[in-house]
């Protein structure tokens, strides 16, 4: 079994209200050296295969077809 993680982040120009809210909240709590916060998602997928290339290929397809919305999101894939 191979565990693959997809890291999904918002594209640079897309507004991130969640990130902003976290930033403000952290400031209020006294963390004052923060220069920016962005929130993203991660999705861990366990695959029944031993073939790393296949796993990567499959998860890339999943990411493009379902897991991300290319209008607003970018992604990277990591295999374990």
């Amino acid at each position: 079994m191979i565990k693959v993680t997809v890291y999904i982040t918002l594209k640079k120009d897309v507004l991130d209200p969640q990130g902003k809210a976290i930033h403000v909240a952290l400031n209020n709590m006294g963390f004052d050296k923060i220069n920016g916060v962005r929130q993203g998602k991660l999705i861990e997928i366990n695959l029944d295969t031993k073939d790393f290339d296949e796993a990567k290929e499959q998860v890339k397809k999943m990411s493009e077809q379902l897991l991300t919305n290319p209008i607003i999101e970018d992604f990277t894939i990591e295999l374990e």
């Binding site: 897309v14 507004l15 919305n69 209008i71 607003i72």
Partner: protein, 229 residues
């Protein structure tokens, strides 16, 4: 007029929408389960509101991959009319029938409210029974209604007159009139041939004065009027 309603698991405005159609046209629309592969003969297909598949990945994302959507994309190329309400709008953007994306409300909270809207044009089949620039009220109820699109596409949508409804000033205090941070106060958009409409407000909840207004009825009346000719 033949109307079909696509039902996704987790849809929850299907009954209300069905009743609204019945109320206006005297006939219930056909219900089409999301797993089916072909739509029955229809002049108009409606994607009702709700939380398809729980909206667990992104609102509308999983529904957009349903088998029936393939056929919807095909039939819309052939000229069928499509209306997506709330979650239906989100599904239409996720499957590419409408441009843009509906991201989290800028308040980060679900918002349920009666909003004031301007009907931007009355020359489409969805709005023919409104006056031009008529101002109306309709309920909204959503967590992800913040219409986002890149600058160039936004400009193009505006130039082509594809904004269907905009949130406008009302006299409610202590809350901004734009309930979700939508670019250019957009509450609804058309595709490039004005045959597909997506909107966040719920016209099906506004067809009776006693339950908070009947301005939504005009959308159904417009469609009935235009498509029954």
């Amino acid at each position: 007029m033949d109307v079909s309603l696509i039902i996704f698991p987790g849809a929850n405005c299907d009954k209300d929408t069905s009743l609204a159609i019945k109320h206006i046209t005297g006939k219930h629309p056909k219900h089409v389960w999301y797993k089916e592969t072909t739509l029955p003969k229809s002049d108009l297909v409606i994607l009702p509101g709700g939380f398809s598949h729980g909206d667990y990945l992104r609102s509308g994302a999983i529904a957009a991959k349903a088998p029936i959507i393939k056929d919807l994309i095909k039939k819309s190329a052939d000229g069928i009319y499509v209306l997506g309400i709330c979650n239906g709008f989100q599904i239409l953007t996720e499957c590419g029938l409408l441009q843009g994306s509906l991201i989290k409300n800028n308040s980060l909270k679900f918002v349920s409210r009666n909003v004031r809207l301007r009907v931007i044009r009355n020359d489409t089949i969805f709005t023919s029974n409104f006056k031009e620039n008529e101002d109306v009220n309709m309920p909204i109820a959503h967590h992800d209604g913040n219409f986002y699109i890149d600058d160039n596409s936004l400009k193009k949508i505006e130039e082509e007159g594809r904004v269907a409804f905009r949130y406008i000033e009302n006299n409610a205090k202590h809350s901004p009139y734009n309930p979700n941070g939508s670019l250019n106060d957009i509450a609804g958009v058309y595709n490039d041939n004005f045959k597909i409409l997506g909107l966040m407000p719920h016209p099906e909840r506004a067809i009776d004065k006693i339950t908070g207004g009947d301005h939504g009825a005009k959308i159904f009346e417009s469609m009935f009027h235009s498509l029954s000719q």
